[in-house]
């Protein structure tokens, strides 16, 4: 999965990568490509927070997980330190992007943002938290939240 997105694909490659049977990656259609991009992406993984090793999310969540969670997981994997920053502040475009990927209605967004900020230490228990651990924690928090559980059902 990591390769799918980090390898960032050339749009014209003959297969369209979003059609991954059983483990659809939702709206993510960016496929792999050799060239400058992988070097650049390699540099970005030198992030300040979150161990950006993906690949376990499908294992943790299973291939039957709904598509919006998988999209969210992919976004987290690629942007975990920015999402963490926004979560700590309870606002920001990366947090809003998570909400969009989870199809959370505008009306429920403030509740979502508050839940994420209040439980920052639960979602990221340490500086070594991986993005898939964070995703699992987010899903668990939402499942046990009355107003937000419907988005992860």
């Amino acid at each position: 999965m990591k390769k799918l997105i980090a390898g960032a694909m050339l749009l014209g490659a003959s297969s369209l990568a979003f059609a991954q049977p059983g483990c659809g990656v939702g709206a993510m259609i960016w496929k792999g490509q050799s060239g400058i991009a992988p070097h650049v992406l390699a540099a970005t993984t030198n992030g300040t927070l979150g161990n950006q090793t993906f690949g376990m999310t499908t294992g943790t969540l299973g291939c039957n997980t709904n598509e919006s969670i998988q999209s969210m997981a992919m976004y987290m994997d690629s942007n975990v330190d920015k999402v963490a920053r926004d979560m700590s502040r309870g606002e920001g475009e990366n947090l809003d992007t998570l909400a969009v990927l989870l199809n959370i209605d505008k009306a429920d967004r403030p509740e979502f943002r508050k839940l994420m900020q209040d439980n920052f230490a639960t979602i990221f228990p340490s500086s070594d938290t991986t993005s898939d651990q964070a995703v699992s924690a987010i899903v668990a928090l939402m499942e046990s939240h009355e107003g937000l559980s419907k988005y992860v059902a």
Binding site: L16, G35, A37, L41, K106, Q117, D118, F120
Partner: protein, 626 residues
């Protein structure tokens, strides 16, 4: 426009025959010839006039052509396309699916029936891209990165349903064209092949958030987003053509057929009659191409997205001096988030300190390549402490600059000056194809940045009717940046070319040179700085004692860049080592007076002591920018 409508009528009439008489009919070839030279068809095939009076396509990929002669013959390609799109069959490999933009245009122009084509791959691709509007994104230059100075452009495909504008745009796809330098070429090879060809150019699609990561977070470049005013039909056409070229190779050249160029071609296809490519002559500087797009009334609105570095600097500015001290202490590790001084701050102030510090740590960790075991625990502590403060008013985002990059002076400069050197009067003509120097109008350019390409100074000395090449700059880059407690960039410069140099006999001989320098700058106000540089000069010429000479030296000066006027002045000293070990001391002052965006006056004065004699040069002139 008028002409195109007229010429459109003939083929349309004949099209009726065409469909009846079949395409191989000789009668059809004459009007088809006309059609093959229609600007729209030439754009669709990326045909440009060649030296032989014909046309050659810039596509360097057999898969882009349906005719074996397609590369050099718009007509052969048109005929082959007409045959292919009418061939029986369907599916992704059918010409209608491979070339939807050609198909659509030919059917309209020739009044051919257009039954819906069955193209699952193309349709899925389009549905996924889900594009309503198109935005041209310009990544501005960044001071300390010479290769970024021309900027970079790409297209963003904005989705139809904007439930949440910012978030949806982060997820929007972008289309860009870049050299595929996947081979592990050295920097020099990269430059060589970039200039003379040899790299395949590839059109690729990536999410906008990856682009932001690259330009905004890693390269610290502000982004300007120009939303184009394309109609739904034009947007469709742009996508259809993007599909046609998406995996086709177009060789990449830094100066003309570069990232910006291919996007202009896409826009030309989207809106026939625009002909942005006609603006390109020798080079397509991305910032110039943005100007053309603006000048052709293609822009509906503009949005500014500051880079991480710009945001951090602005955050730190909003802190009080005491809070800045705390931020520095937190960064250095001499205080932690639990220190009493931090805990004692009111909630909102503490939130501001933590936010600014986190963003600064993130920036520093990247710039200075902090090891993870330093960056990660500190980042984590800052975020965790921050998450315990609710409802704090966030720090303000940087304001949009009053003058956009595309609103700065034009990049080609011509200057005429009159002056006097060593008792001789002269008239000087200077041509500079690109790009900016520190005494040009500063708005729209980075402070302290200078990049000159192929600048030619020629002088006519009136006393002996003598015409002389005074200086030819190949490339000259200066990056004068200021240091403070939080940001500690190096100032540096490098250049090569040929210039007049004094020799002991008193003659001034034209000498190839290479020079460079590095040092520091400190702000003396928002618009001015002092700088101190260590320099090195190398000159190579027969007229020099040993055929070459080397000089370590120093340059100490002050630079002010204002809205109306820019000034620099200082002293330089060079110790020539190889000759007879003489020293060259120079005092200099120059001024640029900005009358309008594209016109200004200049004045320069220099007094030099070399070979036991003094020499004074001064000149005044006028600069015009095109």
């Amino acid at each position: 426009m008028q002409r195109r409508l007229m010429s459109g009528r003939t083929p349309r009439l004949l099209a009726a025959f065409c469909t009846l008489l079949c395409l191989s009919n000789a009668e059809a070839s004459e009007p088809l010839e006309q059609l093959a030279h229609d600007p729209v068809w030439l754009n669709l095939g990326h045909y440009r006039p060649d030296l032989l009076g014909g046309y050659t396509s810039q596509a360097d990929d057999d898969a882009f052509f349906l005719s074996p002669e397609g590369k050099d013959s718009p007509l052969a390609e048109l005929k082959a396309t007409l045959t292919a799109i009418q061939a029986p069959g369907s599916g992704d490999d059918h010409a209608r699916c491979r070339f939807p933009a050609r198909d659509q245009w030919l059917r309209t122009r020739l009044d051919m029936p257009a039954p819906p084509a069955d193209c699952p791959a193309y349709e899925t691709w389009r549905d996924e891209l889900n594009t309503k509007t198109v935005t041209l994104v310009f990544a501005a230059s960044y001071l300390n990165s010479p290769s970024s100075m021309f900027g970079h452009t790409f297209l963003r495909l904005d989705p139809a349903d904007t439930r949440d504008r910012d978030a949806d745009l982060l997820l929007a796809s972008t289309v860009s064209y870049a050299a595929d330098a996947s081979a592990h070429d050295s920097e020099i090879m990269f430059a060589y092949r970039g200039i003379f060809g040899g790299y395949p150019g590839i059109t690729s699609v990536k999410p906008y958030y990856e682009k932001i990561k690259l330009y905004s977070d890693i390269e610290n470049r502000d982004l300007w987003e120009y939303r184009l005013n394309l109609t739904p039909e034009e947007t469709d056409r742009l996508l259809a053509h993007a599909w046609e070229i998406r995996d086709k190779n177009f060789d990449y050249y830094f100066f003309d057929e570069n990232c910006a160029y291919r996007l202009l071609a896409l826009i030309d296809v989207a809106r026939p009659g625009t002909q942005l490519l006609d603006e390109v002559n020798t080079h397509a500087i991305p910032s110039d191409t943005v100007r053309w797009v603006v000048d052709h009334d293609l822009v509906a609105s503009v949005n500014y997205r500051p880079s991480s570095a710009t945001v951090v600097a602005h955050y730190l500015e909003q802190l009080s001096p005491e809070q800045r001290d705390l931020a520095a202490d937190l960064t250095e590790g001499s205080r932690t988030v639990d220190s009493p001084e931090i805990q004692a701050l009111p909630d909102e102030d503490r939130a501001h300190v933590l936010d600014a510090t986190y963003d600064y740590v993130r920036y520093e960790a990247h710039e200075e390549e902090w090891p993870r075991d330093r960056a990660a625990p500190l980042s984590y502590d800052l975020l965790k402490a921050r998450s315990q403060i609710d409802d704090a008013e966030p720090l303000k985002q940087p304001p949009e600059p009053a003058v956009r990059d595309d609103q700065g002076h034009d990049t080609f400069r011509a200057s005429v000056a009159g002056g006097r050197q060593g008792g001789r009067n002269f008239v000087q003509l200077t041509l500079r194809p690109a790009y900016h120097d520190v005494l040009d109008p500063p708005e729209g350019y980075r402070q302290g940045a200078q990049l000159q390409f192929l600048r030619l100074d020629t002088r006519y000395y009136t006393d002996k009717d003598e015409l002389q090449l005074e200086k030819l700059i190949g490339v000259e880059i200066r990056s004068l940046s200021v240091r403070d407690r939080f940001f500690t960039p190096l100032s540096w410069q490098v250049g090569f070319g040929a210039r007049r140099t004094d020799i002991e006999s008193g003659n001034r001989v034209l000498t190839p040179y290479l020079d460079g320098g590095a040092g520091f700058g400190w702000a003396t106000s928002d618009q001015s700085q002092i700088y101190a540089m260590g320099t090195g000069d190398l000159e190579i010429d027969d007229d020099l004692d040993k055929g070459y000479d080397l000089a370590p030296g120093a340059d100490l000066g002050w630079l002010y860049q204002g809205h109306r006027v820019s000034v620099t002045g200082g002293v330089k000293s060079k110790a020539w080592l190889i000759g007879d070990g003489d020293r060259e001391d120079i005092a200099y002052a120059s001024l640029g007076w900005h009358l309008e965006r594209n016109i200004g006056l200049s004045a320069g004065w220099e007094r030099k002591h070399h070979f036991e004699r003094y020499d004074t040069t001064w000149q005044i002139g006028i600069n015009a920018y095109f």
